[in-house]
């Protein structure tokens, strides 16, 4: 942190927040709110005179409330810059000044009660998101009595109690009697690996944090008897198994089972744990003087704003989703944005540092190049066809399309550097006024025609996305899984590219079944483009029904790249469905879709609905 503060190429904005963030790779505009600290940091020498006279005493958040601080304080000893900050909400009064003692005491006259928040605008080429995580709040797990029993503490609180810089200066004392406990228990997976309460995922760091804590206790207080209650210990990192072994050999008892209840002895304040030891199958009672809840990690509660700013999405666990879990683990799906640390997933210090190094390296590649190479698969607006409805700008997962100006008859503009080429805009455009370079509508229609050229009634036309379902088919092939030969694949970059015209064209040419397949919602490589696929398929089901065509003939499936099993299963199921589609049915469909009248009627009904829903379209001059 000190090095960062001193580095000539790093500007550190402490006590600041991002107010706004717009733009795209190479051209991000950031508005930073530098909050008023009411202390001129360049003048402050951290002499402590102001703190001594400040009459306001409040719990110290950094020490987990075990000690107090003043209204003017340094957040933690290693804070950079080493300057005080005055919390105006706690201060006895600024307007009018009711106290003013700190200003009187400050020889250098650093206190400025009139300081205001400052807005700073900066332009940057790339952004690294390293906003971290939070720890799980265990109050909902009533059985552990965290809010009732003082001697039940969290792993964060334990950290402060055992730290030399903590409220007890490293003397490990239990809260109720300020004596060093003789017995202590650690409960693992608090808020993790639970389907009902807390979170279903493993928080990655808690096992080794507890192993480390037990070793610390062994070193400083060899007489303390420590017990660890666990589901299973995950010691998978380099040297971790050795630490776990040392902990066990040092006498720490590891008991496989999570206590169902903690009761407190009102006199001794000792804690009675009831636990089913799943190794022996016995119900056990353990009396301990102190219990530490090993908390899991959760995404930051205020992460949504950042997601909106940078058009990021999250995986089901709430942490930010990377561009590709294996090949681009530090890149965000938005070009020019990178991740470091727990904002992406729970990880320990070593992994965080590794990822931070990788993110910095990835960022410097772009910065040094000074320009961005864009794959020639981006979208292009065909201005003559555009009616300025603006749907493309609204559906773009990357906000890469600038809204059209209806009055000025100015078509939307695609920011080529920000476009990822998913094709959602092209598929959603009601005017077919968007063309995807190298994945043009004509190319897809030609592929469909080629597939349908011979015995169309025997083929299942399958649209498969480049990232998940197409590799899912590959996976089925590599694993030598058997699936019917009726499957005919057409690869799209994203399932969001599958235009209604493609599906109807396949039916028009005699396809008995059409399958649209893509990534699972949580794996979508184009942020949330897959949601538009779902919406569009639902619209198509309605349309088919209006036309008297069985909606069942249009199928939808989310298949991940590693799920060859599912790919093969879906194909076998569709082969069975194919047998239920009669030649008469296919002929009827071909007729309905070929004469155009019925389809036009159905489409007109749909478009009327779209118009109603799109207020900007009402003013359209046709």
């Amino acid at each position: 942190m000190m090095d960062v503060g001193r580095h000539p190429n790093i500007t550190l904005y402490s006590y600041s927040e991002v107010d706004a963030l717009t733009g795209f790779v190479g051209n991000f505009h950031i508005t930073i709110r530098r909050k008023a600290r009411y202390v001129v940091e360049s003048e402050c020498t951290a002499c402590n005179d102001c703190v001594e006279v400040c009459p306001v005493v409040v719990p110290d958040e950094y020490q987990q409330g075990f000690s107090s601080r003043k209204a003017i304080y340094i957040p933690f000893p290693q804070a950079v810059p080493s300057a005080y900050v005055l919390n105006m909400e706690e201060c006895l009064g600024n307007n009018p000044i009711a106290c003013g003692k700190c200003a009187e005491a400050c020889e250098k006259k650093c206190i400025d009660y009139d300081m205001q928040d400052e807005l700073i605008n900066i332009e940057v080429g790339v952004v690294i998101v390293a906003t971290g995580m939070e720890v799980y709040d265990p109050t909902e797990l009533d059985e552990f009595g965290y809010t009732r029993h003082e001697n039940v503490v969290t792993s964060m609180e334990f950290e402060r109690l055992i730290c030399a810089g903590g409220p007890t200066e490293g003397h490990f004392l239990r809260p109720t009697d300020r004596e060093t406990p003789k017995t202590i228990g650690f409960i693992q997976c608090v808020g993790s690996r639970s389907e009902n309460r807390g979170n279903p995922y493993c928080s990655n760091i808690c096992c080794m944090n507890t192993v480390k804590d037990t070793l610390l206790l062994r070193d400083h207080y060899p007489d303390i008897e420590a017990k660890v209650f666990y589901i299973d210990i995950r010691a998978f990192g380099k040297g971790f198994e050795d630490l776990y072994k040392r902990s066990r050999e040092g006498g720490v008892k590891y008991i496989r089972g999570i206590p169902g209840e903690i009761e407190e002895n009102p006199e001794t304040k000792n804690l009675l744990l009831t636990v089913e030891n799943t190794t022996t199958g016995q119900l056990e009672k353990h009396e301990l003087q102190m219990v530490v809840l090993s908390l899991g990690l959760v995404p930051r509660h205020d992460g949504d704003l950042l997601k909106r700013f940078l058009t990021l999405s999250n995986t089901v666990d709430g942490f930010l989703m990377e561009c590709h879990p294996k090949l681009k683990p530090v890149d965000a799906p938005t070009r020019g944005v990178f991740f470091a640390g727990c904002v992406e997933a729970p990880k320990d210090i070593k992994d965080s540092v590794t990822q931070a190094g990788a993110a910095a390296a990835r960022a410097s590649i772009l910065l040094n190049a000074g320009k961005v190479k864009v794959e020639a698969i981006t979208s292009r607006i065909i201005e003559e066809k555009c009616n300025y409805c603006g749907i493309c700008a609204r559906v773009c997962p990357y906000h890469a399309i600038m809204e059209p100006d209806r009055k000025a008859k100015k078509a939307p503009v695609v920011i080529q550097a920000a476009c990822a080429g998913c094709g959602t805009c092209a598929a959603e455009c009601p005017q077919d006024a968007i063309e995807m370079r190298h994945y043009r509508d004509e190319q897809y229609l030609a592929q469909i025609e080629a597939l349908m050229a011979e015995r169309p009634h025997e083929h299942i036309v399958t649209f498969a996305c480049n990232w998940c379902s197409y590799p899912g088919g590959d996976d089925a092939g590599t694993a030598r899984l058997q699936y019917p030969t009726s499957c005919r694949l057409i690869r799209t970059m994203c399932s969001g590219r599958v235009d209604e015209d493609f599906v109807m064209h396949a039916f028009r040419l005699g396809a008995p079944i059409v399958l649209v397949s893509g990534c699972h919602f949580s794996d979508c490589h184009y942020i949330d483009a897959v949601q538009w696929t779902q919406k569009r398929v639902e619209r198509m089901w309605n349309k088919l029904e209006r036309l008297g065509i069985r909606p069942e003939r249009l199928q939808l499936d989310w298949i991940s790249a590693a799920d060859g099993q599912k790919f093969a299963r879906v194909m076998r199921e569709l082969e069975e469905m194919l047998k239920t589609v009669t030649m008469e049915e296919i002929k009827h469909t071909m007729e309905v879709l070929s004469n155009g009248k019925a389809e036009k009627k159905a489409t007109a009904a749909k478009k009327a609905k779209v118009k109603k829903k799109t207020p900007t379209k009402k003013a359209k001059v046709e």
Binding site: H520, F521, S522, Q531, W532, Q534, K535, E538, W541, N542, E545, R546, P551, E552, L554, Q555, L556, D557, W558, V570, E573, M577, A605, K606, K609
Partner: protein
């Protein structure tokens, strides 16, 4: 969250479930695990848009 009727277009299974209006969700048929699950229109099935 409001409830709606869903129909699996693979196996035909119909069931009632909750959904978030305006936010498409990944739907999976509880019976056959297919994602071809359609939320049935609330009032009239199909004809009217």
């Amino acid at each position: 969250m409001p409830e709606a009727k869903f129909k699996c277009l693979r196996c035909g299974h119909e069931y009632t479930g909750s959904y978030t209006p305006g936010t498409p969700q990944e739907l999976t048929c509880p019976k056959c695990r297919s994602n071809s699950v359609r939320r049935l229109p609330e009032k009239k099935p199909a004809q009217k848009d």
